[in-house]
């Protein structure tokens, strides 16, 4: 079995008068440890696809098997649990809690996993070490640079030891130097065996992946091996 099996995945939005087809039947198999970039013009369905992969949304039709479980028909709270256990998100805008320290931000997924305070702290600490931020644990987001914030977000995505890591335009809000550092970090995570999905419209970013999925108009146009 593959880690991810997507069959004829469709997503459409009922906009009253017309129906918007964001995804028109996507098939994809991904093995554990793969590094995949998703590219395509604006409106081609990249975010929709990533949201479905991240179990933030359910498809209109089609099947999505993640780690041997059919998550395409799950109820909201079950999806929440799958997200908590299997998925790590890295957002373009970092989405850190402004009032919380780096450590507390990283602890958050463990809170919802019901992990006790001591273990939570230890694991968050380890995750921050992995992204080279062990000296910034008590800093709040406004005391960190953009690159550091994105690394906190990555630590938070890793702390639950998820099956897949999803990043939507992770370098979009970073300058080119820190962007390059971040891509280096993603590369190293890939080398350590993590499964990565990165949505981007920059070819230079996509080239870090093993394969690039090109979307157009809600369908896979080509899968390019790098």
């Amino acid at each position: 079995m593959s880690l991810i099996e997507v069959e004829q995945l469709k997503k459409s939005y009922d906009m009253g008068s017309e129906e918007v087809h964001a995804l028109r039947g996507v098939d994809l198999r991904v093995e554990a440890g793969e590094y995949i970039a998703i590219m395509g013009p604006s409106g081609s369905g990249k975010s929709t696809f990533l949201n479905l992969l991240g179990c933030l949304d359910t498809p209109t039709s089609g099947r999505y098997i993640l780690n041997d479980r059919d998550v395409s028909t799950m109820a909201e709270d079950d999806l929440a649990q799958v997200r908590n256990e299997e998925i790590g998100f890295v957002f373009q805008t970092f989405n850190l809690l402004a009032r919380a320290t780096a450590l507390q931000n990283v602890e958050l997924p463990l809170v919802y996993a019901g992990v006790g305070a001591d273990e939570r702290r230890a694991r968050a600490q380890t995750a921050l070490e992995k992204v080279d931020l062990s000296d910034r644990v008590t800093h709040r987001p406004n005391e960190l640079s953009g690159g550091q914030r994105q690394r906190v977000a990555i630590a938070r995505a890793l702390v639950n030891d998820p099956s897949i890591l999803l990043a939507d335009e992770p370098t979009g809000n970073l300058d080119s130097v820190t962007g390059a550092e971040l891509l280096g970090l993603l590369d190293s995570l890939h080398k350590k065996g993590h499964t990565l999905f990165v949505v981007t419209h920059e070819r230079d970013v996509a080239k870090h992946a093993q394969s690039i999925v090109h979307l157009r108009d809600g369908q896979i146009e080509t899968i390019e091996q790098v």
Binding site: E76, A80, F89, N95, R99, P109, V111, G114, A117, R120
Partner: protein, 426 residues
Amino acid sequence: MKIRAALLAEIATMALETLRANKMRSALTIVGVVIGITAIVGMTSLVRGFDRSFKGMVEVLGPNTVFVAKFSGLSFMSGKEFIDLIRRPNLTPDDALALERLESVRYTDTMLGGGFDDSRERLSHRGEETKRLQIMGTTELFAQVGYIPIELGRFFTASEVRHRRAVVVLGQDPYQSLFPLIDPIGKQVRVADQQYTVIGVMGPRPSPGGFNAGQDEIAVIPYTRYETQFGVPALRVSGGPHRDVTITAVPREGQRARALREIEETMRIRHGLRLDEENDFDLITQDALLRIWEQTTQVVFLSLVVISSIALLVGGIGVMAIMTMSVTERTNEIGLRKALGAKRHEILWQFLVEAATLTLAGGVLGVLLGSGTGVLVHLVSGFPISLPWWSFALGLGFSASVGLVFGMAPAIRASRLDPIEALRHE
């Protein structure tokens, strides 16, 4: 609906942090709750404290004793006008004699100058002078009827009353100021301008509310003597001369109801009242006092409930507003928490706990302010207070409930947000 301990602790700290971050807004929001809880706790402490000591005092009167007065607190509480009350006929010592002749009445006591009265006099002994005291003229039964203990010496006798003897029984206040170190019995004191012999000292008397209402600032002399020295004092009040006479009647064993009826009839006949006319005197008994008191406290409690409900309602609406704002402001955070694995009920509880923490903070403040007010009143005036634990529990419970109830709608809204749309917010 199970909530994880780790999450609850996290939620509580987050809630406190949110409140700290929005101090001004939070403070304004909980004003209503603070007022409501302060009212509950503060008023409960005062009313309950007064209630206890009032009942203590009334119980001392004895369950059977009937007081007859021109008017009393009872007539005020039943809404009669002072101007009408003062026009009622004055009672006289002869009324007491007439009541004493009744089959059902064991004995009566007449009290002159006991109540509504401004003819206070000084006592002096060897150049020492007291402040102005209430001088009362009574029969030999005064102490017995009022259950007043005699601490030293004795009360005067029927014979001393009949012979208008110049004897005086001191209350605690003149006793302590004139004879702090020596035995007062047999000593001479001057009451206004006449010499009296001290024959006894009364023990401390209970008072409504237990605070010092001057209930021990008295001296008692035979009422016959009182009439000679002062006359029955007529007080000029708009409406007519007012004489202060109270008659105490003690019924025979088991004849209380009959005594009440006969006393009422006798007084009506003596005052020449027609059948359709109301009593122009007050009959005061222990249970009448207690009944009136109960009604009064009920009204106080009812208005307390109304006032604090309004305050809590205002507070609740404030909480609903601030929580709705909070949910809107933190839509993105809600989306993030959901993306990281928060379930619906976990988001729901987060906002409920936050709202309840907010109002509970108001409740704690209200309990402190309310009991502080009670204690302050007690320290300043000696007014008795009671701080029952249940009024604290009630205050805290109410305040937390206000948060839970009024935070419910915004919390439900937060828990139902779509994670993707919430994340896209801002």
